[in-house]
């Protein structure tokens, strides 16, 4: 792998930039791999990278139906944070956040991670109590969280409607200053380039159509490019976990729903942090290009359609405009929608399945992007050793049977109400 550097750019400037090489190969699938990862999104590529880097494995393939990073990795709002109240969740995401802070150096690829602060708004006394409780839980585990007064919120985000007549009055907030945003494509490409340099085969346009079984064990996959043998197979296709696991006869605690986001035309810097309201379900940040990125609710009915519904868009935008009225004159330039695995307790599933040699990484609900490094790290551990990493042990598939669900919102087994 050619390292990217300022010196390399300078040398390129002198020789007409002729030295650039493809960042990863386009190999033909081999007959057998030790580990096959289904799904070439950020999570799958990160898993392959850490399998090679941390566990020293080399005979690995990542199979991708379309092109890498073309699924949910390219269809999110790029927010990175670890401010969860429940311990298994904030420990897991905090491990990821620490990886995020060094990811560009680690991959020699600029993922444009920008720790500009991730702020939850509180709209009532009850909201503020809830935020204080969450902040306390995080600080007990050494994660940064600062409760903000109304004035501090107004100082950080002067364009918020802080008036007493506001549609959603703002009483304060909770900020995680180390949170922020990153460039989604660069995460997939950086991990792909890193994994490829260790000899991982990234095979695009290769859809898995079935599993090859030997008794209760999976020994390979059927794909649109032929049968490929495998020692272990890891499903990593969040959004379509139910579909792919169904090929192996598994029924999962997952319902697929679409989650929408949209972006406006680019403007000068006006939103300084990531503004989030979980009481409303509205997420506002400004991309490095200047566009204001909005995220809202999932559609609340099952769907695999990767397109938005005006009804849900209108809801998210109405909330955003009520919070930041000056956004009203901006033109929306793009909307997109990703298919998300809504799990039945709102937390991911990483671990073994009832089928031998078949592992599952899915159920990310609307929080998958920020988890990319931690998900890859722990899933690589699980695939390499056959047993979960301490960080992903609580996120087993069995937890629904044993009752040890990790339900941050306390909604119960109703993914459509989350």
């Amino acid at each position: 792998m050619n390292r990217y550097s300022a010196f390399g750019l300078l040398r390129g400037a002198l020789n007409g930039q002729k030295h650039w090489q493809p960042a990863w190969r386009d190999p033909e699938p081999k007959a057998h791999y030790d580990i096959i990862i289904i799904g070439g999104g950020g999570h799958g590529l990160a898993t392959a990278y850490y399998l090679a880097k941390v566990h020293g494995l080399r005979n690995i393939a990542v199979l991708e139906k379309g092109w890498i990073g073309g699924g949910n990795t390219g269809r999110n709002t790029t927010i990175v944070r670890s401010n969860y109240r429940l311990k298994p969740l904030h420990d897991f995401f905090e491990f990821g956040l620490k990886l995020w802070h060094h990811l560009s150096d680690e991959l020699n690829y600029n993922v444009m991670f920008s720790p500009r602060g991730a702020m939850f708004l509180g709209h009532s006394d009850a909201d503020m109590v809830k935020l204080a409780e969450r902040g306390d839980a995080m600080r007990c585990d050494g994660i940064d969280a600062d409760l903000m007064t109304r004035d501090e919120v107004a100082k950080l985000e002067p364009l918020l409607d802080m008036s007493r007549s506001a549609r959603f009055p703002i009483e304060g907030g909770l900020i995680q200053r180390r949170g922020g945003t990153a460039r989604h494509d660069a995460v997939a490409w950086g991990y792909a380039r890193g994994a490829d340099s260790f000899g991982v085969d990234i095979i695009q346009k290769c859809e898995v159509t079935g599993f090859v079984r030997n008794g209760n064990a999976v020994v390979g996959v059927e794909t649109t490019r032929g049968r490929i043998g495998a020692g272990r197979v890891g499903i990593c296709v969040a959004g379509h976990s139910g579909h792919v696991a169904g090929l192996a006869g598994l029924k999962l605690p997952i319902e697929s729903q679409t989650l929408q986001a949209m972006v406006t035309e680019g403007v000068k810097p006006m939103i300084n942090s990531v503004i989030m309201s979980q009481s409303l379900h509205c997420y506002i940040s400004q991309s490095d290009k200047g566009g204001i990125v909005f995220g809202g609710d999932p559609d609340n009915w099952p769907s695999y359609a990767q397109r938005g519904h005006p009804m849900v868009m209108e809801g998210a935008i109405a909330q955003g405009l009520a919070l930041v009225p000056s956004l009203s004159r901006l033109r929306m330039v793009r909307t997109w929608s990703g298919v998300t695995d809504m799990s039945f307790d709102g937390s991911p599933i990483i671990g073994e399945t009832p089928v031998r040699n078949l592992y599952l990484n899915g159920g990310w609900c609307y929080g998958g992007f920020k988890a990319t490094p931690a998900s890859g790290w722990t899933y690589a551990h699980t695939l390499a050793t056959g047993s979960p990493h301490p960080l992903n042990a609580p996120f087993s598939l069995e937890r629904f049977m044993t009752g040890a669900t990790i339900d941050e919102t306390g909604t119960g087994p109703m993914p459509s109400s989350r």
Binding site: H240, G242, H243, G246, K251, L252, P253, I254, E255, S256, N300, W301, P302, S303, Y304, A305, H309, P310, M311, F344, F400, M401, P413, M414, S416
Partner: protein, 87 residues
């Protein structure tokens, strides 16, 4: 947005309806633990057609089963149900 043909009110905008759950996830009251676990916590979740329970919450408030394609959103069938007809 989808146009849903309510068996009682005719074609109405989707915004009047609320999705409840799929037909395969209705647990009988005398279900065994395994059965209850399956129905409460797992779904077929096909990338295709499934039977879903919706309610015309902001209309006649009746329940119905909608047979819908999860990718195209095409609704092939709507039937009215009462509690006695649910599996």
């Amino acid at each position: 947005m989808m146009l849903i043909h309510c068996p009682h009110c005719g074609p109405r905008a989707q915004s009047e309806f609320v999705y409840e759950r799929t037909v395969d996830s209705v647990a009988p009251t005398d279900a065994t633990t395994d059965q209850a676990m399956q129905t409460l916590f797992t779904r077929n979740n096909p990338r295709g057609v499934d039977d879903e329970i919706w309610r015309h919450s902001f209309g006649c408030r009746a329940w119905m089963v909608i047979t819908r394609h999860r990718v195209t959103n095409e609704i092939s069938h709507v039937r009215a149900v009462g509690p006695e007809t649910l599996p």
